[in-house]
Subunit: 327 residues, 4 copies
């Protein structure tokens, strides 16, 4: 916990972390869920873990999984339908040209919603990472947009017990994904009930957004439901330790999360390829605590006053003082 | 003319083209409007020129300017309110913290709308380039968004004889501009009557968009009113000759402009710093003609069939065949 | 063959093409080398295939492999030591902090040199992709540089029958790789005998280089020994079909390869994740042929004359004319 | 002063700071040198100011300028030959196709060396910003390289009383500059006596370098003679306040400057367009002091030990502890 925020992580943080070169991963593979949950419990402050549908939770293991979590006092804040790890989604899921694939994708999300409802999880995270294109003249943007809207709407109508969150990303695994920015996500889900957004900080950075601005925009449209934390160098979704690269941007995000009254989960979506997993998650939370401490030590009003004046130099000095504690 | 499209250019194309190092410009400075119009007339196919309010057109010279254009058979497709060349706009125009500056910005746009109405020009181009921020903690995103909406609405309500087009750009002159993408522009203008969008291809490329997708998205929302053509290397608004860098992307754009039925102006917004101005504009139009020729030689249906199949390899082959004429 | 150039591909082009999400790959997995060679033979003009040491060629299968290649009339232009697919290289190979790992990396390269000598292959490709860093304060740049030089020198001294080529890349799998540009590669190998460079076009693009300039620079230092072809959007090593994105840059490269007298292999290093493998390689070669045809139709002298004048507009017109055949 | 470092700024920091839109600048224009020096004196710790040849110092004003500096106890650490503010350099200076222009560029540098010698300034800064290209097929890379080497050598041979420093930059004002990275600069100047390098941090960031690595590389070749400080968002040379964006990178640079024993000037090359000039420079120096304080509080040995272990998580924790003072 961190104030009103629960702190989470994605379960694969504790897995072997593969890339396209080292397909077995840089860490130890073959861990059981027991082992990964035990690792997770070593991360101070961690309240829960996201699960990928089918891989981590399914009809067969539901009871077992629930009890593993209960034993350790861990929550399941999110179930993520698998729309991206199988060859069949390779050319698209919700926006596939193939009616059958689209239907399967919607069914996959609904199945996860059912599991979520059963384990008392509030959200599913719809990230249509395979829905996009690689080359010019490869996509019908209009059709894809319609399919995505229809698919999201079909999922959202399934049950009001679980909310459908849409997660945007500029690219990867496709060189271009359709749902690429906060603003596009807002446009996509406008007018559909029971839908919200998941802001992944690293996706926002890689999309060239100022992430605090993205959070403020989503909040204006009442769509800031959930936040993923990680960092990168903006050229790719490096899934690095929180605030390891973008310190002023993370401080500004912490301020805006407070200002817009965000009270939800702060969940790590890091990929500590070469790092010890528990340590990487722990340091990420240390940074999260530091960011909010910095903001709170100064106070929202004092920071707001700097923003109101809009002087560049004063804004830079503010960051220095927040970090160095000379408020 | 190019089919249904009129071909235009921004008047400063024919001026001296300065940058922050060479403030007097790389070309000959001090040209009169006569001289610049004469240069423009040498560009085969050119139908009209955009003017910047106050600088190129104002109460004092209105009659003179009108007659200079009439003599040469040139249209004025757009008047661009100057919200960016004076120190007073440096910290913002329509989104300024200063009520007085905001009012002046709105007044500036309205004045241009009046001039536009008088000379029979259909559009003003609102590009709030100074509205943004440079540093973290320098902007109140929520206030800025509200000011921008209010300002655009106030302008749009001024007269229905001239439509207000909003032009987005990711950055420059600010390191971050508020209206940065097609999707954000759509969100901003939603529900305001008499407002449309201007798609600047270079701005779209520099914003990390696929420009054909941006055009299709704007068209879906009935907001694709006007197109600026230029190219760049995506890191900056280099304002280069059309299609000099992004050939597949420009071909795809030409196809989508046809597909969504765009019939408006195709206007150069190039900055030929070191090039002969007439030649640079001429070559830009040669490329524009080439792009549409390629698309038309193959035909919309045949291209659409490739898109429908969504095969990457086939899409690449299509580009090669479009260019090489082996349809 | 294409004039003096032999045309190659990396064997994994024909494998299943996995990424970090879809670890089993988007294509059919589990192919035998027989099957992959048969696929390769369907690619018109293909003269040979690069092999990865241990994975594709090793002491046990050497004879078998040689005969599979011989049967099909295929050459082995390159053996690539595996310094990147195993967890043990995760924190570095030739530049590892660990003396033992460094020694193993050198041994791995030498082993590949022996295999290369045995099968009549002229080169090994040393790509130390894991040698780099992810975070600030994670690397001792001076030590790493020394280790890399020492390692490359130790390999190069092993046998003069096989030349050691160093391949640079800006990033991936590390967020920062040490050997990141053409110029750094030249610096690294200066003064070491029996060493050259491999220019991977995609790596060059992603490093922010103009690839023709990189080729010219390497050639000036007599270090342009081998060329890998693929394309990307500059933010990542997308390993796409040749010339699918950067057409003017590829044309310029074709010209400069001719101008500096490069006569070596042109080998595809593409990763056709979602494409049919044979078709993607075939289309890549079609583009390669097109590029050189365009250059040759105009002639080196005529192109050189345009370059000599250095006019931007004329350079753009040249690209249009090369492509459209109006020389 | 900051330990062994003298602190400087470029004189135009205190001028009006124009860009291509607002050509008269966002600050007050028309300041006299007196006024600008008086402003500079208000910046605590400032030891000297760089001057641009001809503009700020020339035969006519030499005595006057010297006495203005002497009166205020300010040094002139650098004279920068103007190879970029005049139309005549627009297509190149030292690497121009035009023999006459090349000779003029060399003469310009020599003239500045003479002035430098006369005022006791140790360096001239050769930044050939106009030497590059904008379009494919516009540059003869081989010729350009030769011209640049010859030009730099000719300058360096002029007098040993003043050292010629070469400053690299990836782009701007050209879309591609020839001398674009630390490694290319080293290659260029190899073997020429009386030549060194100027590392501009912002140029390094915009070139995609890790700036600490660039500093270490230059130091290995004994070419780290002078450092320019400023920050940006990596897509452009934004010339922002020091450490306003890249905090971990600046901390790492401070460590490496200490480690390689750099003792030279730390000079601001910032462009505070919309900021109060004195305040922006003052805050930049506050950050410089903070960076070195952080490094020294922890100590070189302790930081070096973290680097030696090469653990990502530990590196991130180090940055947090350096900033927050929990060493």
């Amino acid at each position: 916990m961190l104030g009103t925020h629960k702190l989470g992580a994605c379960l694969p943080t504790f897995a072997s972390c593969a890339d396209r070169y080292c397909l077995t991963g840089y860490g130890r593979g073959g861990k059981t869920m027991d082992e990964m949950l035990d690792m997770a419990k070593q991360v101070q402050g961690l309240d829960g873990l996201e699960l990928v549908g089918n891989w981590h939770i399914n009809d067969a293991n539901m009871k077992k999984v629930t009890s593993l979590f209960k034993e350790r006092g861990l929550a399941i804040p999110m179930i993520v339908p698998d729309l991206w790890t199988q060859e069949k989604w390779g050319r698209g899921s919700l926006a596939s040209r193939d009616t059958k694939i689209r239907a399967e994708a919607v069914a996959e999300v609904k199945k996860c919603m059912d599991w979520a409802a059963e384990v008392g999880c509030q959200f599913v995270d719809v990230w249509p990472g395979q829905d996009g294109f690689d080359y010019s003249f490869q996509a019908d943007f209009t059709d894809a947009w319609k399919h995505l809207r229809d698919g999201v709407a079909a999922c959202a109508a399934h049950t009001s017990r679980v909310k459908v969150l849409v997660e945007y990303k500029l690219k990867e695994p496709r060189t271009h994904c359709f749902i690429s920015s906060a603003a596009k996500t807002i446009l996509l889900v406008q007018g559909i009930a029971n839908v919200g957004c998941l802001l992944d900080v690293g996706h926002s950075l890689a999309a060239g957004e100022n992430v605090a601005e993205a959070a403020a925009l989503l909040a204006q449209y009442n769509l800031l439901d959930y936040v993923h934390l990680n960092d990168n160098y903006r050229g790719w979704d490096d899934d690095m330790i929180v605030s390891s690269v973008h310190i002023p941007e993370f401080l500004e995000l912490a301020y805006w999360l407070r200002k817009v009254g965000y009270k939800g989960w702060l969940t790590l979506d890091i990929f500590p390829y070469r790092e010890l997993k528990v340590e990487a998650a722990t340091e990420s939370f240390e940074w999260v605590r530091t960011l909010f401490e910095c903001v709170e030590a100064k106070g929202l009003a004092a920071i707001g006053a700097v923003i109101d004046r809009g002087e560049g130099t004063e804004a830079v000095r503010l960051v220095r003082e927040l970090l160095r504690g000379k408020a």
